[in-house]
Symmetry: C2
Subunit: 112 residues, 2 copies
Amino acid sequence: MSGPSQDSVLEGLTGELRRGSLVIAVLCGLQEERSGGALKVRLADSGVSITEGALYPMLRRLEVQGLLQSQWRMHDSRKKRFYLLTPDGQRARDFLLSNWRTFDTAFEGLRS
Amino acid sequence: MSGPSQDSVLEGLTGELRRGSLVIAVLCGLQEERSGGALKVRLADSGVSITEGALYPMLRRLEVQGLLQSQWRMHDSRKKRFYLLTPDGQRARDFLLSNWRTFDTAFEGLRS
């Protein structure tokens, strides 16, 4: 049987996993107020790379959804937008992390 | 600002996370050959519930992608289709689990 290439299959599956996981990473990274640039660096330091082209639309979406709030501030003589979790954002982060833990425990159990 | 309801926001984010995670759970559950019904029970026992309407299309898709193979067998006097990981499926599972671990470690780091 000639199916899709394994590279494109893995890419698709990894992309699916990444979409849900990146949101959790962003929510975890905004417990303290940070600019988009500082968040990007913090994510990279933690092993999660994300382009600005992916990060900023996600921040905007999460703000529209009420999970983040943002504010323009002066920083190093430049105006920058800073982001912070709202109480709803904290609840969403905790809820998603508990879903994550459920799957994590399941993977262990399924493999044993 | 009146945004979307928090219930629908959480539902959307949980759905995104679930899509990528369910595939890993299914791949982890088919290290040994199982029927769809037996896999569904095994997943439920591990804390992951999935409807037949979601499970069977996913099994078909993963087989088309070359990650699973299936075979009809007699079981309790009934013909049933049994599923098993292929070597490509084992590689995909390991790759996705290593992505999962990267995010898991990142979440810990981001919250500290």
